[in-house]
Amino acid sequence: MSSPHLFRLQGIFREIFDQPALMLTAGLSPATLPEWDSVATVQLVLATEQTFGVRFTTNEVAAITCAGDFLTLLEAKVP
């Protein structure tokens, strides 16, 4: 998986889950990362919006199920 946003998004995940060695993959999800609960999703959304200067819509946030969803959204919103 390669995306210009991967590295910075990985930084956000590492910080929120306090796992400095976490390797971000598209398939990373609440199923594979037990600490990823609904509060974490809100924190991830807020941090991603702020870091990349974007807004996610209500539908987009509700549909997030894995890290790949963040990358797809960022591809579409950040040039």
């Binding site: 809100v42 702020q50 819509t57």
Partner: protein
């Protein structure tokens, strides 16, 4: 690749170019750009860091003698790369420390990064200190929440956070998950170690009313009732004429029910207003309109002045943030979070300041620099007629606005002090001869202009006013002076003034340093009292001998049990007196009301009048039965330091012992509980003739006075003057 062209791009555009470069070109581009870039942008940093693994000759660029050291951007990249490498942690630390000083608007980010490195290096206390310093720079939500999460992680591993312990329960109709970490960090920043209970969302009524709820089991010192407009349950139009009565009445019942179970202070949100209103202006204009009812409820909340209930002025905070920023519809639909994340620091800051005021940590002195702070220009060079203040210049108006704000603070009891690097004579001249000055020399409780270092002068100011250095707020346009004070005296609140003097008032006001819960007559008279004190001291010098001085003061003490007229001042003194206070027990308004109603508790206030005027209420005592009905324990004995050395404490003790005798009490016990600040009363009971009864390793001790066997010696220079 044309380097000049790349350097001409703005940071964001350059970040995009670098993000999409073929790996083969990366080395050439970064070689040209990084060490020559003069700006710093963290998005650019993140993009470059993301591509570093692909960089050829990476080791050379990231070496200790890297050419990248020459630019801010380069230093940040190096510091960040080295931070992940155990062998380079000392080098990273050094670089972060430079960046804390150099990186301007990113100073708070640099502090957070240094906190992370310190944590890696095992320096937990240093890490905590950096996080607190980071919070002091007032970062936005994103950065603050990162620092808050890190602080929680350190605390979970047992890191000690300095400060006073408090317990806060939060009940709310919205999600509370985002609040506790931020609130813990902001509390730590202001000297409070907060343990927080967040009630499950939406069940605030049950939590408050039910004595068996998790909230009451937690035994909070403070309960925050975080409601907003939706909780009022109002329609845009046509609400019942008594809607405001009903809403206000329900809140009163909730408070009373909660405080019956847990004696605590309640922080109640005043209602904000819906960001969208289908009825438009009609909601405000029509009787029963939603905006009108909410405004009416809020007015009642403010006017109620219930003991033990503090109102959080959410409508004002919402106006300050802007209604569109305060409410985030998407965040409400997605996460039931209100208000919006970006305004949480503003709201939680207000909680912390109100709690600080309640536990006696409110700031008391505004310390002001002169040149380019109170006026534009340097009086030593430009002269009293060359500096600018007031009309006609806009810059002069901006400085006059700061003076006016300071004067308003002074008029409600905040002390003002000057701390300036200047000749004393030069610095006083504008107050005498410059047109447009708002402040006068005698508005200041202290005026210090010399060439000493500012930290030394700040200590001097605190000492002369008999206050701790942590009650000072320092305002200085010079970033170097601010940095020096920050480094040497982290307990002093340092205001980050913006470059434009028009922003000075906003910068001081935003943090609510001087937030007070109630206004007392003493507040209004305080400056007069301090000035009268100066006269008293000159009399002392004249009189030469202490006895002559005390006699000439002609002191009369008015005293009596706590009553409604002195209630606010009693609560205020109980909660802010730190030094002359043997037990430092913080009783809130509700508890004081309970003492007043309890005939077994003996309370007494003391108001001292002398030949220079009324000192106001300067002392409080509270005694209650201990293990037997004929043994009293002194729960509280406190006095204002400004009447030290005037036999006031002797008079107070004589009064208490006389009352004990009258009530048939056999023994009176005094207790000293040491704190960081009350060393001056460590030997008070011995000095007054009490016998030591027990002593603990930490310095706590108890003393007794045998009421039947002994008589307190008469107090020569203070006369009783009735209530």
């Amino acid at each position: 690749m044309n380097a000049e062209l790349l350097l001409a791009l703005d940071d964001r555009a350059l970040a995009r170019v670098i993000a999409h470069l073929p790996a083969a070109d990366l080395g050439a581009v970064l070689a040209e750009v990084v060490s020559r870039r003069t700006s710093l942008d963290l998005e650019l940093v993140g993009t470059v860091l993301g591509r570093l693994p692909e960089l050829a000759e990476r080791e050379r660029w990231l070496a200790v003698d890297s050419p990248w050291r020459g630019s801010l951007l380069g230093r940040w990249l190096l510091a960040q790369s080295w931070s992940g490498d155990h062998s380079r942690i000392p080098a990273a630390m050094e670089l972060w420390s430079e960046l804390v000083e150099q990186s301007g608007r990113y100073a708070a980010d640099a502090l957070l990064e240094r906190a992370k490195v310190r944590r890696e290096a095992g320096d937990v206390a240093g890490s905590v200190a950096d996080l607190i310093a980071c919070a002091q720079r007032q970062p936005g939500y994103a950065l603050l929440s990162k620092a808050a999460r890190l602080l929680d992680r350190l605390a979970a591993k047992g890191a000690a956070i300095p400060g006073r312990n408090i317990r806060i329960g939060i009940v709310s109709s919205s999600t509370v998950e985002l609040t506790p970490p931020l609130l813990r960090l902001l509390a730590a920043r202001d000297g409070l170690v907060a343990e927080i209970y967040g009630a499950p969302f939406g069940v605030y009524r049950q939590e408050l009313m039910d004595p068996g709820s998790g909230l009451h089991a937690f035994k909070p010192d403070f309960i925050i009732v975080a409601l907003h407009w939706r909780d009022a349950g109002l329609e845009p139009l046509g609400n019942a004429p008594d809607a405001a009565d009903r809403i206000f009445g329900e809140l009163q019942q909730l408070w009373a029910a909660a405080q019956r179970v847990t004696p605590c202070t309640i922080l109640q949100h005043a209602f904000d207003f819906p960001p969208h209103e289908s009825a438009g202006l009609l909601a405000a204009r029509e009787i029963g309109g939603r905006a009108q009812v909410l405004a009416e409820v809020n007015l009642r909340l403010f006017r109620a002045r219930m003991p033990g209930v503090v109102i959080v002025d959410c409508p004002r905070l919402a106006a300050q943030a802007g209604a569109e920023t305060w409410s985030d519809d998407a965040l409400w639909h997605v996460a039931k979070q209100h208000p919006a994340a970006p305004v949480l620091p503003l709201l939680l800051d207000r909680y912390v300041r109100l709690i600080a005021a309640r536990v006696g940590l409110a700031k008391k002195v505004l310390v002001l620099d002169l040149d380019n702070t109170l006026w534009a220009g340097v009086v030593g060079e430009d002269g009293p007629h060359g500096i600018k203040v007031g009309p006609p210049t806009p810059i002069g108006e901006a400085h006059a606005a700061l003076q006016r704000y300071a004067l308003e603070l002074k008029n409600r009891g905040v002390l003002l002090a000057v701390c300036s690097k200047n000749n004393d004579a030069d610095s006083r001249e504008p107050f005498r001869s410059t047109l447009g000055m708002v402040l006068k020399e005698d508005d200041f409780a202290l005026f210090i202009a010399n060439w000493e270092e500012k930290p030394a002068n700040l200590r001097q100011i605190a000492q002369q006013l008999n206050l701790g250095t942590d009650s000072l707020v320092f305002v200085d346009d010079n970033p170097l002076e601010r940095a020096k004070v920050r480094r040497e005296m982290p307990e002093v609140a340092v205001v980050d003034l913006p470059a434009d003097p028009a922003g000075y008032v906003g910068a001081i006001d935003r943090r609510g340093y001087f937030e007070a819960l109630a206004l007392s007559e003493e507040d209004l008279a305080r400056n007069e009292a301090y000035k009268a004190n100066a006269s008293r001291y000159s009399l002392k010098a004249e009189a030469g001998d202490v006895e002559g001085f005390l006699r000439r003061l002609d002191m009369r003490m008015h005293h009596g049990p706590f009553n409604g007229a002195v209630h606010d001042r009693v609560v205020q003194l109980l909660n802010k007196t730190n030094q002359f206070n043997v037990t430092t027990r913080r009783h809130g308004p509700a508890e004081v009301a309970a003492f007043r109603a309890n005939p077994a508790v003996w309370t007494q206030y003391f108001r001292l009048v002398d030949c220079f005027g009324d000192n106001g209420i300067i002392g409080l005592m509270l005694a209650r039965p201990a293990e037997a009905a004929d043994i009293w324990e002194i729960d509280t004995l406190l006095m204002s330091c400004r009447v030290l050395g005037r036999q006031a404490e002797e008079f107070m003790m004589a009064t208490l012992l006389a009352a004990a005798k009258e009530r048939g009490i056999a023994r009176v016990r005094g207790r000293y509980l040491p704190t960081a600040k009350n060393g001056m009363v460590a030997d008070l009971f011995s000095r007054l003739g009490f016998m030591e009864e027990s002593r603990m390793a930490d310095g706590a001790a108890t003393y007794v006075w045998d009421v039947r066997g002994r008589v307190f010696p008469p107090v020569a220079f203070v006369r009783s003057a009735g209530a």
